[in-house]
Amino acid sequence: MAGTDYSAELNKAGANATGVFGQLRFLARSYPLGAIGAAIMVLFVFCAIFADLITRFDPLSTNAAISLARPGGQHWLGADFMGRDVFARLVYGARISLAVAISCTAIGSILGIAIGLAAGYLGGWVDLLTQRLTDIMQALPLLVLALVMSAALGPSLRTTIIAISIPLVPYSARVIRSNTLAVREMAMVEAAKAVGMSEFRVAVRHVLPNTIAPLIVLATAQFGSTILTEASLSFLGLGIPEPYPSWGRMLSESAAEYIRTAPWLVIFPGIAISLVVFGTNLLGDAIRDLLDPRQRG
């Protein structure tokens, strides 16, 4: 039976996916939802980086003449009560959200890795102490903990980042600890010790690299939730202070007074927040499936 054409099957299996572009196209076809998430994230990061090229309006400058202007015309998404362009504030707000998301996820993961690795690898009283401390932290809801911290430290970008990242630590620490417990029993750890490597080297070079794959998945999920937490904190007036454009505060300053008269002040920041969180979740699910072949359908 010569001449059977397998090319369709092969293409489906990704055999001809060559080059960066070809591979991306193959991945996008295998994970369409993940591709949508990735597209949203690319758009989000693009807005954050090139904010000053995307809009010619200054997000901070007020103009009484266009106070509460409707969407359309020069001001695509309208203007708020102080006459600030909503589109410009959304685009610049992406910077704040991105800065918060990246730094909070990074700080939370790094501290979590350090604590989780120490607890899992050393065991004993280190493990006991850190585990009970993380229990205490996990007993308090993330938002409440962040609220208390930012209330205590006073609102600013830095305290917002600290207040959001610290409550993330227990989750990362737990993930790293449980993987460390499994990996440290593997023969490769004994082999490294038999060679006479220091405990620190064994932990960092041999155990740690084999524990962080699940953390990548967790970090993408946290990336979205930090944006949400920042928006919530700013909504409550404890996050990013005036006049910097934060999506959460854009919501809070308008929600009570203008939801009836100027709903675009509430709708567009709300869409921005939901879209980015939705995007990170889609991307996170796709990354989880990619990293864990058992979860692939």
Binding site: A187, A191, A194, G196, M197
Partner: protein
């Protein structure tokens, strides 16, 4: 000539704790008084069924776990009480190869780096020199130096075990402890790895402590064989002596369990009844008396000692000697 390694009365007891106060209520006697020695260029086969303490012996000798009692002398130096830092120079004299070639290599490191790291940790070579030395080691174990760039998952089981052997050889040790190095491999690959190990032994005058449960493999590679049962050595003899003239009833039973290629060959099979007793509650007297076909009243009371019943042939059984 001092033996490369001399183990005397090695013991490893794991405490069993219970209750709120973690009081010690008993102990698992994983290794209970094991003695042996290995000369340069010699292989000691250590056999026994699962759970008899073979691997515990390997790990204790390597000082990966602390012995409860006894002494380990490496080239005449007692290494039993040495600290981690004091152990470091001695690690260059002995290395270990594990059973599972899949879990004993770090999946995130390149094969060449896995072997090269050992050299750099001991400050033996650096940079280019490391690479050259690793290439040489790869060639010695039958791998192509080009394969140094591969990750462990790109190798087959046999090739992975060769990488493990290359890592063990990197420090130029005199003793390699092999903890069932071929049990996880296909039979044809087993032969290749065993022959590689024997070639290396001839070239480098290596000594092996070779742990296995496959008697055919042990017969092929060993010079002397020790049979373990429930944490103790029950018979210890030259390979030929042990296989042709087993003295201990347990060794007899082990040997009769080896499959023979000729199906017409009828042999008297000694199939043991029952299970290995728990090492937490070893039976009084001879540990084997619960399953021994020749059990006598005194076996239940007196613990037999390892005695030389013929030149170089030690047995721990009341039926022999006296």
């Amino acid at each position: 000539m001092t033996p490369v390694i001399e183990v005397t009365d090695l013991q490893k007891h794991y405490p069993v704790r219970k209750g709120l106060l973690r009081r010690q209520v008993g102990a698992v006697f994983a290794v209970d008084g094991v003695s042996f020695s290995i000369n340069q260029g010699e292989t000691l086969g250590l056999v026994g069924e699962s759970g008899c303490g073979k691997s515990t012996v390997a790990r204790t000798v390597m000082r990966l776990i602390e012995p409860t009692g006894g002494s380990i002398r490496l080239n005449g130096t007692d290494i039993t009480g040495l600290s981690k830092a004091e152990m470091r120079p001695f690690r260059r004299q002995m290395q270990i190869v594990f059973q599972d070639p899949f879990s004993s290599l770090n999946p995130r490191m390149r094969a060449g780096d896995i072997v090269g790291e050992v050299l750099e940790v001991h400050h033996l070579t650096r940079g280019r020199a490391t690479e050259a030395r690793v290439a040489e080691l790869f060639a010695q174990v039958g791998l192509r130096p080009a394969q140094m760039a591969g990750y462990p998952h790109q190798f087959s089981g046999g090739q992975r075990q060769r990488i493990c052997i290359a890592r063990a050889l990197a420090l130029d040790p005199q003793l390699i402890v092999c903890d069932e190095p071929v049990s996880a491999l296909d039979v044809s690959i087993q032969a290749q790895v065993i022959n590689l190990m024997m070639d290396l032994q001839r070239d480098k005058k290596l000594s092996y402590l070779f742990i296995a449960h496959d008697l055919a493999v042990v017969e092929h590679i060993s010079h002397r064989v020790a049979v373990m049962y429930l944490g103790r050595i029950v018979e210890y003899a030259d390979k030929r002596d042990l296989f042709l003239n087993p003295k201990h009833p347990y060794t007899e039973a082990l040997l009769s369990a080896v499959p023979v290629p000729n199906p017409r060959l009828k042999r008297q099979k000694r199939i043991l009844q029952g299970d290995v007793p728990s090492p937490m509650h070893p039976p009084p007297g001879c540990p084997f008396h619960t399953r021994c076909p020749y059990v006598e009243p005194r076996c239940r009371q007196d613990v037999p000692t390892l005695r030389e019943v013929a030149p170089g042939h030690l047995v721990s059984c009341h039926l022999h000697g006296l």
